[in-house]
Amino acid sequence: MSKQAQHWEKTRGLLMVTLAIWFVFSIGIFLFGAEMNEVTGPFGYPLTYWFTCQGSLGIFVILIFWFANRQEKIDEEFGFSERGDD
């Protein structure tokens, strides 16, 4: 398998993991919204309410930065990272 194909396979793997986490916090948990709201979440808010106000939103921010770092590692591993920084 060529270097490029291996790089793409790893990139695709990372995409799947990222989308799985995204799915859980944007769609998955809201299938059980009513049940989850009975539980007390962080800072004392009802749990589902907290996810809609802060939880899911904050997790998305962290997820994107995590994804960007992982993708950079993959690019470096195959020598595809760009010169210069941002």
């Binding site: 490029q4 790089h7 995204w22 769609i27 809201f30 994107i64 930065f65 960007a68």
Partner: protein
């Protein structure tokens, strides 16, 4: 001043700007104490901030195509994040979001989850690859990846339909704010708003828009957060509201149980002015079915990833790596405002309905409420209304009505904050609406000038001529938008949500599959865009005209149907026609590798 050196000095330049703006707020506060009228303060806030944006717009003027279309591809990640956040957060987010949460609770929160979750799709599926591609506009990617003028033209059409739906709402919002702050009739205020918008974008294109959007973000975030923190502290609810309002949230639930949600008769509701609503839904309880919540969130997420005015912001970063990081920063800056909106809604609701607070009006006598100063002001502005339906002389929860905008606009006054805060909020709303309108008008004008005029009609046009065409189109589209806005045919939020649905119906799968599925070809993309847009629009028209809809898809989520049709059409048609040629397949391979030259040259 704006070249080279300017980029290195960005933190300093915007640091001074932020300090200057804070100093301006303090000067206004002192002026208020010395007797400056509320009206004069409002005019100063709006005029001062708009003048600054105009100066930035003028300093960013350019005659180069890559500066005009993609800000020279040198916008650092954090600043591009701020610009995207301002581009993204519209007048509706700023003025109406807290109100939506206040009235609809959980069912509305799907929009918060959708409008943030969409950025995960932007970061992982699209932005870095489109940056590598090196395109100027979104149709530029479609046109080059799939080849042929028809695919390019369809992408331009979808982009125009979606963005134009959105932009009239934004011009409308600038008009509303300008008309209140400057005290002029709405029909003229719309054009004042439009001229302010064009001042930012006409001379500098994307470069001008980028640097004004950063300035606008700073104004809008200060204008949103300062009142939230101040009100929370003043009410004794906690010095950092985001982490400390659990007691307030449970107190609202307690009061809701105590008062109960009494349903008003249709006859009584006739008395209530149009556009005002009462509190009829629980604040923190789950009041929507899982599918109602998830379908709305999903539509907003896929729409986010298809809206061209957001995507084109990531064409301005220096590298592919920077594009990815920049999406993270964008969402961080959006998060600062979005996570504050529910807190504002909580504070606003509690301060009005809790009889044990000095500001609480429920349980007071109707005559007493009608004598309160702020009630009279906002009643006159048609944003508040009380009526004694049951004739007992006391105000009940179901007898109090408010407009959605009042949560952001009136809460500072109810909490007893000085008027300078209301002036600040007006400037923030203006900044939010202007920055989004700028991004949208530029997206449409660039697609028409670059993709329709240069790539399809006159490929030999000189740069100077192309930029003249781009600017003329900018003005024409702006005036068309303002003219429709002046007619006031649709509410602000309804049309914003439609824009997401139109964009996802026509563009989501052609964009995503263009990168992630090599087998996708021209015929498939054409079928996907055309059938997606037609079926989405058809569904909307059907439901608007009394159609029953199916699978719980409403007029707010019609994009789910449109994009499903688009996906099926694109896959089926791609598979029954010939696979893309070797050159196209090689191009897709190159897009997937972050390093190396971009597909399209620096000047194209």
């Amino acid at each position: 001043m704006i070249k080279g050196n300017f980029i290195d000095n960005l933190p300093k330049v915007y640091g001074i700007y932020t300090g200057g703006f804070l100093a301006f707020i303090i000067i206004m506060a002192i002026a208020e104490q010395m007797g400056m009228s509320a009206k004069a303060i409002g005019i100063c806030f709006v005029a001062f901030t708009v003048a600054i944006y105009a100066i930035i717009g003028y300093l960013s003027r350019t005659a180069q195509a890559d500066a005009y279309y993609v800000a020279g591809r040198q916008v650092p990640t954090v600043f591009n994040g701020m610009a995207t956040a301002a581009d993204w957060m519209s007048g509706a987010s700023f003025v109406a979001m807290a109100g939506g949460i206040y009235f609809k609770g959980y069912g509305y929160m799907a929009l918060l989850v959708g409008w943030t979750g969409g950025y995960v799709l932007v970061a992982s599926l699209l932005a870095p690859y489109l940056r590598k591609f090196g395109c100027y506009t979104v149709p530029d990617f479609i046109g080059t990846r799939y080849g042929g003028n028809l695919a390019r033209l369809l992408a331009v059409i979808v982009l125009t339909v979606a963005s134009f739906t959105y932009v009239t709402a934004q011009i409308n919002a600038t008009g509303t704010i300008a008309s209140v702050a400057l005290d002029i009739p709405f029909q003229y205020a719309v054009y004042v708003g439009l001229i302010s918008i064009l001042l930012c974008s006409m001379l500098g294109g994307m470069r001008g828009v980028t640097w004004t959007q950063v300035a606008q973000y700073i104004v809008l975030i200060i204008a949103y957060l300062l009142p939230v923190f101040w009100i929370s502290n003043k009410m004794g609810a906690g010095f950092f509201p985001h982490f400390m309002l659990a007691d307030e949230v449970s107190r609202i639930a307690e009061l809701e149980a105590q008062f109960g949600f009494v349903k008003n008769s249709a006859e009584n509701l006739k008395e209530v002015p149009k556009g005002l609503a009462g509190i009829t839904k629980a604040h923190s309880a789950v009041n929507a079915t899982p599918w109602a919540f998830i379908s709305l969130a999903l539509a907003m997420m896929m729409g986010t990833a298809s809206l061209p005015h957001v995507m084109m912001r990531y064409f301005t970063t220096p590298s592919v790596k920077a594009a990815r990081k920049s999406v993270g920063w964008s969402l961080f800056f959006i998060f600062l405002l979005y996570s504050s909106a529910p807190m504002l809604a909580t504070l606003s609701k509690l301060s009005l309905i809790d009889p044990s607070l000095p500001t609480g009006i429920i349980g007071k006598s109707i005559a007493e409420v009608q004598a309160i100063d702020w009630y009279q002001n906002w009643n006159q502005a048609n944003l508040m209304f009380v009526s004694d339906f049951n004739g007992n002389g006391t105000l009940e929860l179901n007898e109090f009505f408010m407009g959605g905008k009042a949560v952001v606009l009136a809460t500072p006054e109810i909490a007893g904050l000085p008027y300078v805060i209301s002036g600040l909020v007006a400037a923030g709303g203006m900044a939010a609406a202007m920055s989004t309108a700028d991004g949208l008008i530029l997206a449409i004008a660039n697609a028409l000038s670059h993709d329709l005029y240069y790539k399809i009609i006159d490929p030999k046009a000189e740069t100077a001529k192309r930029l003249v065409v781009a600017r003329v189109l900018l003005v024409v589209i702006g005036f068309a938008g303002a003219t429709i806005a002046a007619m006031e045919i649709q509410g602000i939020l309804g049309s914003v949500i439609w824009a997401f649905d139109f964009a996802m119906s026509g563009l989501f799968f052609p964009l995503v599959l263009g990168v992630w599925w090599k087998r996708a070809n021209r015929e498939g993309a054409i079928a996907g865009m055309a059938l997606g847009l037609i079926s989405g629009a058809g569904y909307l028209i059907w439901v608007r005209n009394g159609g029953s809809g199916f699978l719980g898809i409403t007029q707010l989520t019609f994009g789910i149907f449109g994009s499903a049709v688009s996906l099926v059409a694109m896959v089926v048609v791609s598979l029954i026609t010939a696979e893309p040629n070797a050159a196209t397949q090689k191009m897709v391979d190159e897009v997937r590798v972050p390093s190396g030259k971009s597909i399209l040259g620096k000047q194209h």
